[in-house]
């Protein structure tokens, strides 16, 4: 018994104790338990693996790609997969499709990351402020949220991009503008469940400002719901971005973007199938990965919303 107190616990013991000694340890235990549930789910791990591969591909693109993604070779146009070292064939300008897919991972990740750091943050602020303040602030903010929520996403993004001009950044802006209301709703719902609780009252009695209560005491409680929602939304964001790219409103040539690659391959669809179909498989795989992980995360972090 006394032995246990003298030798420092192993990491595993530290993570599985019933009596955490610090806030950090309690938090670590919660994450460790969530991870254990998650890692026993094969499909979730498949989804995670897909996302890890995407990130690695984006990070090490110059080393993975076999060719320069924008190097044209007009004598070697539209060659089938496997032709002279072109793993997935070449496109209408003789560019290596495999290398363009690899570099396209960067664009996809860039879009996903940019939307993920803007829309949820904005939604979180709107939702928590509305929920904590209540009254007129709540009514006005939520009415605004409802208006944006009722808009058709792709159409609105289309109109925004049409106004701001095509390009990745504008596409991201348009997607973020249509994505935030969902997070505001989630954050407000979470806020309403905690705002009357004793610990908030205690913080207020100690003289904490509304700003401090929102950022320090309400927002952390909303985080896990919002994170789940973000993961579930990622597939939709990727598909919307690809759709904008396909319509020629996202990434501009010669940048390798999967949706735009499908769009150019469309002309050669019936004679050279691989140009349009292969980038689609990449999009399908990545959004499938996010869907698999998101479903499992929801079951782990948000048991109430689990549909079994």
């Amino acid at each position: 018994m006394s032995q246990a107190h003298t030798t420092p616990p192993t990491l595993r013991e530290w993570l599985s104790t019933d009596t955490p000694r610090s806030r950090f340890q309690a938090r670590s235990i919660a994450i460790w338990n969530a991870w254990r549930t998650l890692s026993s789910n094969g499909l979730a791990m498949l989804g995670l693996a897909i996302i890890v591969v995407l990130v690695l591909m984006a990070l090490f693109a110059p080393w993975i790609a076999t060719h320069e993604p924008n190097a044209q070779n007009l004598t070697g146009r539209l060659n089938p997969p496997g032709w002279e070292g072109h793993l997935l064939g070449t496109d209408e300008l003789g560019r290596d499709i495999f290398s363009r897919i690899v570099f396209g991972a960067r664009v996809t990740l860039y879009i996903v990351a940019l939307v993920a750091v803007t829309a949820p943050v904005f939604g979180l602020i709107v939702g928590t402020v509305a929920g904590t303040m209540g009254g007129w602030t709540d009514r006005v903010l939520m009415r605004m949220t409802d208006i944006f929520l009722a808009f058709p996403r792709l159409i609105l993004a289309l109109a925004f991009v049409a106004a701001l001009g095509p390009g990745i950044f504008n596409a991201v802006l348009a997607i973020a503008l249509t994505a935030w209301p969902a997070y505001a709703r989630v954050a407000r719902a979470e806020t309403l469940t905690v705002r009357r609780s004793d610990y908030i009252a205690a913080a207020r009695l100690q003289g904490a400002s509304t700003f401090r209560i929102i950022t320090g005491h309400v927002m952390p409680m909303c985080l896990s719901s919002v994170i789940v929602r973000v993961t579930l939304d990622m597939a939709g964001i990727i598909l919307t971005a690809a759709g904008l790219g396909f319509l020629g409103l996202g990434a501009q040539p010669p940048q390798a973007e999967w949706g735009a690659m499908i769009s150019t391959g469309r002309q050669y669809l019936l004679s050279h199938w691989w140009v349009a179909t292969i980038p689609g498989i990449a999009i399908l795989t990545v959004s499938l990965g996010f869907n698999l992980l998101g479903d499992a995360l929801r079951d782990v972090l948000d048991p109430r919303a689990a549909t079994k």
């Binding site: 009415r143 605004m144 409802d146 208006i147 944006f148 009722a150 808009f151 058709p152 996403r153 792709l154 159409i155 609105l156 289309l158 109109a159 925004f160 049409a162 106004a163 701001l164 001009g165 597939a235 598909l239 690809a242 759709g243 396909f246 319509l247 020629g248 409103l249 949706g259 499908i262 469309r266 669809l269 019936l270 199938w273 349009a276 179909t277 689609g280 999009i283 399908l284 959004s287 499938l288 869907n291 698999l292 549909t307 079994k308």
Partner: protein, 362 residues
């Protein structure tokens, strides 16, 4: 006192002397109308602001590069662009309410007329796709729920999950490649073959704007067959996405219903299992499902933008994208407004249907 009052003496009184003096149904209806008005107003504001953000100068587009400053000012005044923004907005709302969406530069027709021509094609596609989605999605969801955790459930879930993860335009291209390019089972892009288009223009009376219905009504069976061969791929592709959504929701609603006590009670009474599942449980699951179906219909109207581009389907989606590339902003914003308004109305309709069908929600 009437017999009904004796049975439920507090019911009618409460309705008559409610807190606001209005019956609750009326209050609810007023609430729906209010939120519809606010949301539509928001949509108008957004399209108006987008039109003002556009870096293109609409005056320059009208007078041309060589206009003198005086001509430019005159045109600007005539177009009402010199007035303050709120005034312009009020005028814009007035125009939209009276059905004036401006003139399209691309077709040089009023946008309202263009939309009236294109809309039936989109409606035809979305309706067929919803029918496919409902016919396949509901049985799939029920079978999945009944066989929870066994192979039929897994297959249905994977098919649904793929639907959630697939770009609609890519599936359209693959379907074209396989069923039109390789197998030759269906017709290619467009609504009709060129030769049939001619017959359609000459012989078929336009009653509904749907080629399929109109040609059947006129007895032009060649046109009818050709139209079917054209519509089957785009409707099938959109129907797949609708099915993925509907089957997933059906499954989860059915699981909820099958766990209820009335299901056990029915089984104990000796009701045949198929009746328990397809009549008792599905009957109750249909209540939330109706809203799901309406929402999926609204989603398809939007999804049609990409599908119509792939299949060269002359609907609203194709109209918007083509206008986009011609920098024809009246057309883009008019189309956005119409699809947005449809979307909002359908969203609200799903709320209203829910309260009508489910007495608990009243």
């Amino acid at each position: 006192m009437t017999p009904a009052d004796i049975e439920n003496p507090r019911g009618p009184r409460r309705a008559r002397f409610g807190s606001s003096g209005l019956p609750r149904v009326m209050k609810r209806a007023a609430g729906f109308v209010f939120s519809l008005a606010i949301t539509l107003f928001g949509l108008l504001l957004v399209t108006f602001l987008i039109a003002r953000v556009v870096p293109l100068d609409p005056v320059l587009a009208v007078v041309g590069d060589r206009a003198t400053q005086a001509q430019y000012e005159a045109a600007r005044e005539a177009m009402g662009l010199d007035r303050p923004l709120p005034v312009q907005f009020v005028e814009y709302v007035g125009d939209v309410v009276t059905g004036d969406l401006g003139r399209s530069n691309l077709t040089s027709r009023p946008v309202t007329e263009d939309i009236r021509r294109a809309f039936p094609a989109t409606l035809e596609l979305a309706t067929l796709a919803t029918i496919i989605g409902v016919m396949l999605g509901i049985p799939a969801g029920v079978i999945g729920a009944v066989n929870q955790g066994r192979w039929p459930d897994h297959i249905i879930r994977v098919v649904g999950l793929l639907g959630y993860s697939m770009p609609v335009f890519w599936l359209g291209l693959v379907a074209l490649l396989i069923f039109y390019g390789q197998l030759g089972w269906t017709a290619g892009p467009g609504r009709l073959d060129v030769s049939e288009q001619f017959t359609y223009e000459l012989e078929v009376a336009r009653r509904t704007g749907s080629v399929i219905i109109d040609s059947a009504l006129s007895g032009a069976w060649d046109v009818f067959r050709n139209a079917l061969a054209h519509v089957v791929l785009p409707a099938g592709v959109l129907g797949y996405f609708s099915m993925a959504y509907i089957s997933r929701m059906t499954r989860s609603f059915m699981l909820e219903q099958l766990g209820q006590e009335y299901v056990t009670a029915a089984r104990v009474k000796g009701v045949p299992e198929w009746r328990v599942v397809w009549v008792h449980a599905l009957g109750n699951a249909m209540v939330p499902l109706i809203t799901v179906i309406v929402l999926s219909y609204a989603g398809l109207l939007e999804g049609s933008v990409l599908t119509e581009t792939v299949f060269a389907w002359p609907g609203l989606g194709l109209y918007i994208t083509q206008a986009l590339f011609a920098a024809d902003f009246n057309a883009v914003l008019g189309g956005t407004l119409v699809i947005g308004a449809m979307f909002i109305v359908l969203n609200l309709l799903s709320d209203i249907l829910y309260t009508i069908v489910d007495p608990r929600a009243r």
